[in-house]
Amino acid sequence: MRRQDVLTVVAFFVIVTTLFPLAVGPEPETLRALAPGGVWVAAALASLISLDRLFADDWRDGTLEQLALTRQSLPVVAVGKIAAHWLSLGLPLVLLSPLLGYSLGLRGFELVVLVWSLALGTPVLSLLGATGAALTLGVRAGGALMALLVLPLYVPVLIIGSGAVSEAMHQAGPYAHLSLLGAMLAIALPLAPLAVAGALRISLD
């Protein structure tokens, strides 16, 4: 993974968020209402395009095959890949999100909730997206296909994640939403690597 990839994904995240005011108009009230959804949709799309080639390079040059042949269990390899990916590409989005949220009119506590929701939610997106990436390895039109496979699975995370911020905007406690995001992470963390490993094994056959 190169530094350039990180910059590209971060730039993508910022540009998509910028498109919202450009498309909707500069009225602060409208933008504020759209802010949670806007940042979350941008984060989901950024996660999707960054995961597209998560295993592709290793698959092409045979590293993946080597890894599968070693004693190292494939789910552990998958966890490692996903963790590395999230730390290098997911974490920058989380850290950058308060700026973008602020530009769309979120303030104070809302920004804290936004960061927390993304911190809990983007790992789930990475885990789900990695499954899609592994399934579409070496497939024609892999990118578009992966979007079709993965985006429906992103729906719950998107709903609950932006819901947390909306709750904070309406002076309600976001804790139920945040705990649900945590629960999703707790479910996805053990299950998704198994699915990823299974998918990798299928595409290595």
């Binding site: 429906p152 699975l153 729906v155 709903i159 609950i160 999703m184 299974g198």
Partner: protein, 273 residues
């Protein structure tokens, strides 16, 4: 070899499956037609108009069965996918593949009829109602399954990848459903919920049951037929397919009954051995 003691595994063998479908499909079709006629008659000529919605509620007789079938076929597909992944039974993959188009069709019809029912009832074709939204997501899950399958050139590999996807999808279905439901209750002010009459008239309920039965039989018939064609194609080079083709050549198309009787005898024989 598959253990013969488990009776239904007999039909995991392509030859027996072919014979089973050959014997079963005509009856499924007949049953579907009879139930559909009875259901449509009850639905249109026996069931009274709804006291609130007038006659538009008659869409219910296809909306609810198709929505049920859409969900049910997805669960069934995922079940076959698991069987395929765990026990490597090829017939399970064939069944999962053949369920997908019909399931997608049913889901689409549920959405379409939901929209057309919504127009007179809610005053709009589309609301982001919890059920409509999660049904839409379900349609995308079907489309993803079919797209993944057709994108992989190697049939065996594509089948396993698609089975895994169906498994991942079915784990997500309840999560999607509950999150959408919850999201919807939070935004309650935006839409009107559909409040049906507290108790359905018995004739309405009868029509609904009949139409559900018809849909179920139709789905079973179409899926099994599709699977049968798929099996013939996959096994084109085996002796039993040649036998089937030759028998039909000899008997002629004008006497399909003979072939059916023939093959059901083969099934019975298979069961005994």
């Amino acid at each position: 070899m598959l253990p013969r003691r488990i009776p239904w595994l007999t039909f995991a063998a392509p030859r027996n499956f072919h014979a089973l479908v050959q014997a079963l499909a005509p009856w499924l079709v007949r049953g579907a037609v009879v139930l559909a006629i009875a259901g449509l008659y009850t639905g249109f000529f026996v069931a009274p108009p709804d006291y609130q919605q007038g006659n538009s509620y008659r869409i219910l007789f296809i909306h609810v069965p198709t929505a049920w079938m859409g969900m049910f076929l997805y669960l069934l597909m995922a079940m076959y996918a698991v069987i395929h992944l765990v026990w490597r039974i090829k017939m399970a993959d064939v069944m999962a593949r053949c369920l997908a188009p019909t399931g997608a069709l049913m889901t689409f019809v549920a959405l379409w009829t939901g929209a057309l029912w919504g127009a007179p009832t809610w005053g709009t074709f589309w609301v982001w109602d919890a059920r409509l939204t999660s049904t839409l997501v379900l349609l995308f899950l079907y489309l993803g399954y079919m797209a993944l399958r057709s994108a992989v050139d190697d049939r065996e590999k594509g089948g396993r990848a698609a089975s895994l996807l169906a498994l991942v999808g079915v784990v997500n279905v309840p999560i999607i459903y509950f999150s959408v439901e919850w999201w919807h209750t939070l935004h309650q002010g935006m839409s009107v919920t559909l409040t049906s009459a507290p108790s359905m008239a018995p004739s309405m309920f009868t029509a609904l049951l009949l139409m559900t039965g018809a849909c179920w039989l139709y789905c079973a018939a179409v899926t099994l037929r599709r699977a049968q064609v798929d099996v013939l194609e996959r096994e084109a080079d085996t002796q039993w397919v040649r036998d089937v083709v030759q028998r039909r050549e000899v008997n002629g198309v004008s006497r399909p009954g003979a072939a059916v009787a023939d093959e059901s005898a083969a099934v019975r024989e298979e069961g005994r051995s």
